[in-house]
């Protein structure tokens, strides 16, 4: 049936849990585009025939194919756009350097788009907040305190904080550290914020 492949693409994105980026389904996309091309060719042929030979009975099939084309287009655009949204969220979550496994899942154009997004976000951040700019990707929720209590979930070795002191992150040890230093590690899952 027509448009099956396009729905496959959408389902793939839907299946993956929120926020994660699956591998770029180049194959699937190509198949959809091929289907669209085939439909378009058939439609062209039929339209010229309908015009020339006045075959009115071809009109419904032309309409059907046109609807399929529109549907395919919509699905493909939705697929690409959703991926871009996820990539954008990655910038806010991981920072400007993406982990290698995530980058592996992006297509070349997506990587380029990411680079440009990074640049425009950086220039925006530089423009606000006076001289040195303001990093808006920190403190996504208003912080309640300067320091937070964190618990180490796995052995991470040594970790250096701003004033040069080094902390040994051993499993199940708890620490009371400045908030901004911990956020990265909390996102990576090494530390866990403990609220008592």
């Amino acid at each position: 049936m027509f448009c099956e492949k396009a729905i496959e693409l959408i389902r793939e994105l839907h299946r993956v849990s929120d926020g994660q980026l699956p591998a770029f389904n180049e194959d699937g996309l190509r198949q959809v585009l091929q289907e669209m091309e085939a439909l378009y060719e058939q439609n062209q042929a039929d339209v010229s025939e309908a015009k020339a030979a006045g075959r009115g009975d071809l009109i419904p099939s032309i309409k059907l194919r046109h609807c399929c084309l529109l549907r395919n287009q919509r699905c493909v655009v939705a697929y690409l756009y959703d991926r871009l949204l996820r990539i954008r969220a990655l910038r806010w979550e991981y920072g400007s350097v993406l982990p290698a496994n995530v980058r592996f899942h992006m297509s070349a154009e997506e990587v380029q788009w990411f680079g440009q997004y990074k640049k425009s976000l950086a220039s925006f951040m530089r423009s606000i907040g006076g001289q040195e700019g303001l990093d808006v990707t920190q403190d996504m929720k208003p912080p309640k305190s300067l320091y937070i209590q964190v618990r180490c979930l796995k052995d991470h070795g040594e970790f250096e904080i701003d004033d040069g002191t080094v902390i040994l992150l051993k499993k199940n040890s708890q620490h009371f550290l400045p908030r901004w230093k911990c956020e990265q590690l909390i996102r990576q899952g090494v530390l866990e914020h403990v609220m008592s």
Binding site: Q149, T165, V166, K170, S173, H175, F176
Partner: protein, 571 residues
Amino acid sequence: MFIADIKKDFYEVVANQRVALLVAADIDGLCACKILQALFHCDQIQYTLVPVTGWQDLSTAFLEHKEQFRYFVLINCGANVDLLEMLQPDSDSIFFICDTHRPVDVVNVYNDTQIKLLIKEDDDLGVPTYDDIFRDEDEEEEGEGSGNESDEGSEPSGKRRRFDEGAIERRIERQRAKRQWEARRREILFDYEQYEYHGTSAAMMFFELAWVLTKDTKDMLWWSIIGLTDQWVHDKIPHMKYVSDIATVQRHVSRHNHRNEDEENSLSIDCMRISFEYDLRLALYHHWSLYESICNSYYTACSFKLWTLKGQKKLQEFLADMGLPLRQVKQKFKSMDVTIKENLRDVIEESSNKYGMKDIRIQTFGVHFGFKNSFLASDMVHAAAALLESTERDENDPTDNFIKALDSLSRSNLDRLLSGIDLAKKKLIAIQQTVASCICTNIILSQGPFLYCYLMEGTPDVKLFSKPLALTLLCKYLLKAFVQSTRNKRCKLLPLIMAAPKDMEKGTVIVVGIPPESETSDKKNFFGRAFEKAAESTSSRTLHDHFDTSIIELKSEDRSKFLDALITLLS
């Protein structure tokens, strides 16, 4: 050295520094740690918390963190050994020790620079005076030097000989005095270090710090109550001390409850209220059925002798005497008939007096927050102890359990606390069953100076008893049950040593010794030193890793010779 002003000499010293907290794995330590953490949060003092389960753990943790931290706070560990010798720290590391283990090692008391003890100096310590133990070596050598000098300065041989004799005599005299002094010193130290016991709860110590800083909250007060109750539940302090500490805490409680008395509804029902309760000594009875609680609390189970048929009948009589229908009593306490619950405590007290249980009621505290949640301090102690030593999962990382138990003490982690209560119920049932089977199969043997019991590998729930706190509790209940059930007058005054398999692969057993059961016992335990000496004399492979010296790990093969050595030592 002892700290005189805890605010000035401890808190203000660490105020702008980063601190490492090394906390031992017992409930009192956990509560003290919670209070200190809350204080540190208030004042933005950065810290790192590391749980430690024994001396080896302590050394490892110290080695890992000594580069990064200058100030170490040790909670419930470190006072009873020579810490500087064990850890070999740099000269700028400072240790603040708040430990309930006594006797405090004399080196720790008299070291002025690196060791600061957060212990009240009058806490019935009985530390020997400085001159009795330490002696300056200078005087002696001076005497020798002057003797030699006068030797050189003398002229003819006659005079020299006289000087020589004088010098020799003086030297002999000095040596004799020195030997006498050393003998006396050994005796004093032996007396001082012979018995091991516990002092004031660490949690109460830190609560006092919070109070002095006027940063105390009801949460901290509740934690200090739990710390004190832990000492009572695990039999670490004598009854008189418990009662006097309760009186101290009661003053704080009434101070905090002052607001309640103003108007009818001044505080919302969700706020935490701590109330003094003169409640029954039945473990976890609010969260269980009354019947189960009576069967599984050691006080009632031992008084009724519930491992015998006669005992069971007596229990039924007791319930009938109070007029409590069996259906009600076996139902969950919360769903029990309200009319029965109203006067329950008085009714039970009256009836238990008839059956010989004079102190069925004990002074304690309870907390209420929200409509559903009310807990007694002893409930929380049982729950936290069960979580701390849970053998549910196979990984059994002790630090995992430490974190779980620490979490359960916060009010926001109710589900953790409730799971702890479930585990505690299972533990109490297991203890009761083990006690019953031990008494019925008579595996408690009198070895002369003490009673001895060994739990075989196949005993159900024996995994539960490979942990020190659970095994100590089992020991205590078993001794009480044994004292009730035996007819031998002499055996009633003996202490008990219990051994249980600890680690199958390594083939070790855990051995615990508790002092004899008596009404006015001062809970002083001499097994620490006895175990050490016995291990030395038979060169058994033992591990004295636990902070309580009366709990050791021993290779199973060396069990019998170790016991023989103990018997000879103690007779």
